[in-house]
């Protein structure tokens, strides 16, 4: 019985893989290229260590513990660039955040791995983050309009934006 059922399942899985939109990486811009675009060259990375307190703050924003304890970033006198990753529905979204004077200067989706919800990379969505800053409770000072069918990716982008602003604030001491 198992043998009989296995084969149809395998055929079904293959059919789904062929018919359904495949979950594959869409690299819109390499992170290094994004950083170079911001600074004109690729500066050496700096490191923000996530102390216990910072881990707790990051976890409160993300809704889960941060994946790693060392966050790389790139900065000059005014701006900092944060390449962050967060799961949308099932896969990680990689996004670059440029923070200047405690506000988001601009955002770009660099790698999108989900099979749907790519609309979060469109400028009409991303421009909502322009000049956003942290409000009390480490929330954004504005509401970000969602996208039908991309609710989880929108949520992931918002969480990453809050995290970038928090990290920027901490990195400035």
């Amino acid at each position: 019985m198992i043998r009989a059922a296995r084969s149809p399942l395998a055929v079904l899985a293959l059919a789904l893989a062929l018919v359904a939109p495949a979950a594959r990486s869409e690299v819109y811009q390499e992170p290094a290229a994004f950083i170079t675009e911001v600074f004109g060259l690729l500066p050496a990375p700096k490191v923000l260590w996530l102390t216990k307190d910072l881990q707790a703050q990051a976890a409160a924003i993300l809704g889960h513990p941060p994946a790693q304890l060392r966050q790389r970033y790139w900065s000059d006198a005014r701006r900092s660039v944060w390449i962050l990753e967060e799961t949308g529905k099932e896969e990680l979204i990689t996004a670059g955040f440029v923070v200047a004077d405690g506000r988001i200067d601009h955002v770009r989706v660099l790698v999108y791995r989900e099979s749907r919800g790519q609309e979060v990379r469109q400028s009409s969505f991303l421009k909502q983050f322009k000049n956003a800053k942290l409000a009390p409770g480490d929330r954004l000072d504005r509401d970000i309009d969602g996208i039908v069918g991309a609710t989880l990716s929108v949520g992931a982008m918002e969480r990453m934006a809050r995290l970038a602003l928090l990290f920027d604030r901490i990195s400035h001491g």
Binding site: A5, P8, L9, L12, A44, P45, L69, R70, R72, L152
Partner: protein, 248 residues
């Protein structure tokens, strides 16, 4: 008895019978449907069921762990996209490792396109992808004079912090290499590293009937037909009774 009354009795009887026979299935479909609708909030896509019978049912052939990478007091065994580092299980979708080295304050695992930096306590410090590496593919990882060393297609590089890299001399490097697992170790790690199937996928397949194989969806289709019959016969009985009341 008039044909209309006979039809009414027939419908009422079968409406009850079908409803009773299908109530468990309908409840099951309703519950699994509601759970699936909130799968993300419930974190079902990140939860996996690890059971050899389930993997076999899905036709997933389990990869058997054969090698370990060892350095100092640390060891890494990998199979089926999962790692066991110092006895601690990783999540899913981890790449096949090519080596492991222990440095003064961290343990570093390399795959061909990424580096995973762990603290001595096994907590992930950082994950570096191809952009942060001096070259890809990484062919080997080693240690020498407290430095982390990578051999890549573009040359051999060393770093003390995995942030800045410089070309490394080619001598006195202890390259990481796999060691064979004993049969007992292989058996133990094979159980730990069984391939998983996401809870969401299992629920979706159970809900749609695909879990039962070729005829499962047909059974669910049949239930859908029953539900349609119940809806139509219920509506007909309701309006018939209402119509009769109004006439009296």
């Amino acid at each position: 008895m008039s044909p209309r009354v006979l039809l009414l009795l027939f419908l009422r009887r079968w409406h009850t019978r079908i409803g009773l026979a299908a109530v468990v299935f309908f409840l099951f479909l309703a519950v699994t449907g509601v759970v699936l609708n909130h799968a993300a909030e419930l974190g079902l896509d990140n939860r996996h069921v690890y059971a050899s019978w389930l993997a076999r049912w899905y036709g997933i052939s389990a990869e058997r762990p054969r090698h370990a990478f060892r350095s100092g007091g640390h060891d890494l065994i990998a199979a089926n996209g999962r790692w066991v580092l110092d006895g601690r299980l990783s999540g899913e979708k981890f790449p096949p490792p090519i080596g492991l080295v222990e440095l003064a304050d961290m343990v570093v695992v390399a795959s061909s396109t990424s580096l995973y930096l762990y603290g001595k306590d096994g907590v992930l410090i950082d994950r570096l992808e191809r952009n942060a590496l001096p070259g890809v593919p990484v062919q080997a990882i080693g240690a020498g004079a407290s430095q982390l060393i990578l051999r890549t297609a573009s040359g051999t590089f060393e770093s003390s912090d995995a942030l800045s890299w410089k070309r490394a001399p080619r001598d006195a490097i202890a390259w990481s290499s796999p060691a064979d697992l004993s049969a007992a170790e292989g058996e133990r790690y094979a159980q730990m590293l069984e391939p998983g199937v996401s809870v969401q996928r299992v629920l979706l397949d159970v809900h749609s009937g695909r879990f039962a194989g070729r005829y499962g969806p047909l059974v669910v289709d049949l239930l859908a037909v029953f539900l349609s019959v119940l809806s139509l016969s219920g509506a007909w009985l309701f309006f018939k009774r209402k119509h009769r009341r109004e006439r009296h």
